[in-house]
Amino acid sequence: MQSQKRHILFILLGFAVLLLFVLNISLGPVRIPTREVIESLMGGNASKETWQYIIINYRLPKAITAILAGMGLSVSGLLMQTLFRNPLAGPYVLGLTSGSSLGVAFVVLGAGLIPGFLGSLLLSSAGIIIASCLGSLLVMIAVLIVSQRLRDTMAILIVGLMFGSFTSAIVGVLTYYSTAEQLQKYSFWVLGNLGNLSWTSIGILSVSVFTGLLMAVFSIKPLNALLLGENYAKSLGLNYKKTQLVIIFATSILAGSITAFAGPIAFIGLAVPHIAKLTFNTSNHNILFWATLLIGAAVMLVCDILSQIPGSDITLPINAITSIIGAPVVIWLLLRKRKMLL
């Protein structure tokens, strides 16, 4: 009975993602009829050449980026919540996103300080991704060390907060030394943008996200053991150091690569795992992983649809939308009578 209900939920979620995917492509400043979108996605041609052009070069890449970002950030949040045994953990809250921003800021704003070839090498998309992943990796390791020193879950959140302030301070300092052009580039990146990705960039992003997700799949069993705490997990034969390492790399790659391409995106990583936990009423990662993946994709597609205010050609930054939706969700989760669970 229970598992039957879950199967139905999964099928419904799958359909929801598909529907939102088509809807996401069809909606925008130029409304393309759904039938034409489906026709075009199935390998045919839309009846207007401009529609075909918009779909292939703008809408489809954006929808795919939304799905990748939604899945990756949500799963990295799930991994962090269980690893730290802290229901409030997530890549944004714990400062991984800030770490990425710092990495990107150094490259975008600081590249001017390094003359010639090396500077331009850093500014390539590979340079930005590596800087971004390194930034989130550093913060993740720092948070982990703090979490082992202080077994206090709240202290970890404050460390995340500190990294946020630290980043904005460093960025503030860097802006003094950067040109207007660099500053504009960075400011634009900070707002977050799922569009404007070339197919090559999407290829790189997909490889990064799927690497991270694959590492997460291999962590499903250890994550379930960690639900009993570190000592029980070890007594069940878990190689704790290895598990920790895999999860650190998975979250850093996921948060780092997505932040590099789409800018800092808040709250998805924190909120989506909880939506999955509430919907499926379980802590079992065999279910939670896939649920988080699908809900993450769906939520991000919705946020992207909302960022294109229907009927106008204004596009709001994606980070604003996820914060407007995510912050109240998190506050509501905190205010519920029942404790937040892993």
Binding site: Q2, F218, G229, L236, G237, N239, S283, N284, L341
Partner: protein, 262 residues
């Protein structure tokens, strides 16, 4: 049941190493755990019971000497090999999650499941067996946080049984339980040791009950550690020195601790 030794220590010293200095908690400890026996570990607070348990379960190394599990040094086991020999019931609180009782007990099968942790028919049989022995089958679909302390302790024991190890070590399993649940748990452990031939070691402060129900006792007092049957320990008057306090003495006829000067 054959009397086979499963775990043994020879003159080990236990304690902690701080940068350069050593903090010795207890030394010259020689104990052995035999299959089919319920063994209790008693001693006053702070005497080093937890340190001893941590040492013989391989969580920390002895300062001196070796802990032998099946005649092999415990530090030579990988965590996975150890998980198939030794299961634990700890005092620490579980992190907040919505695991069901069934899922929690099923985690005991992790040393045997594949990389995804899938439960096979054999795993499922072991899980149901564990729930049957501990009489927790009716709780299977409940979330673990809905359980009473007594029920949760039984479920944690069931998880250890599902892990199917010849040795189970429990750290103060009766602490938060009322009298009825304490007796119930003691009886369960005794039945488990005698019927399935496991060696079961548990630390406890319920000394009266431990004297009545355990097959052997390991007694930690300042300076020395003695292991023997309860009857033998009573006959050599060791319980009188268990507490460094004149107002608690042991009454041999009643097999009970009595209080004076109250």
């Amino acid at each position: 049941m054959m009397e086979t030794k499963i775990l043994e220590t020879q003159d080990i010293s236990i304690g902690y190493t701080h940068s350069k200095s050593q903090n010795v908690v207890a030394q010259n400890i020689s104990i052995s755990l035999t299959r089919g026996k319920l063994i209790s570990l008693i001693g006053a607070n702070g005497i080093g019971k937890s340190t001893l348990l941590r040492t013989i379960t391989g969580i920390q190394k002895p300062l001196l000497g070796n802990v032998l599990l099946n005649d092999k040094n415990i530090s030579q086991y990988t965590t996975l090999e150890l998980a198939q020999q030794l299961s634990l019931v700890l005092t620490e609180k579980l992190p907040p999650s919505s695991l069901t009782v069934f899922e929690l007990i099923a985690l005991g099968r992790q040393p045997y499941t594949n990389w995804l942790g899938q439960i096979t028919a054999d795993d499922s049989r072991q899980i149901h067996h564990a729930m049957e022995i501990t009489e927790t089958a009716h709780l299977a679909v409940k979330k673990y946080y809905e359980l009473s302390d007594g029920q949760l302790q039984k479920v944690l024991v069931a998880r250890a049984i599902a892990q199917d190890t010849p040795l189970i070590v429990l750290d103060e399993p009766t602490t938060h339980l009322d009298l009825q649940n304490k007796v119930g748990l003691f009886k369960l452990l005794k039945k488990l040791a005698h019927e399935s031939g496991k060696a079961i070691l548990f630390s406890t402060h319920d000394i009266d009950m431990a004297i009545q129900l355990s097959d052997e006792m390991i007694l930690m007092a300042s300076g020395n550690v003695i292991q023997d049957t309860p009857e033998k320990l009573i006959s050599i008057n060791v319980f009188d020195n268990l507490f460094e306090n004149d107002s608690i003495t042991f009454d041999r006829d009643k097999v009970k601790f009595v209080f004076k000067n109250l």
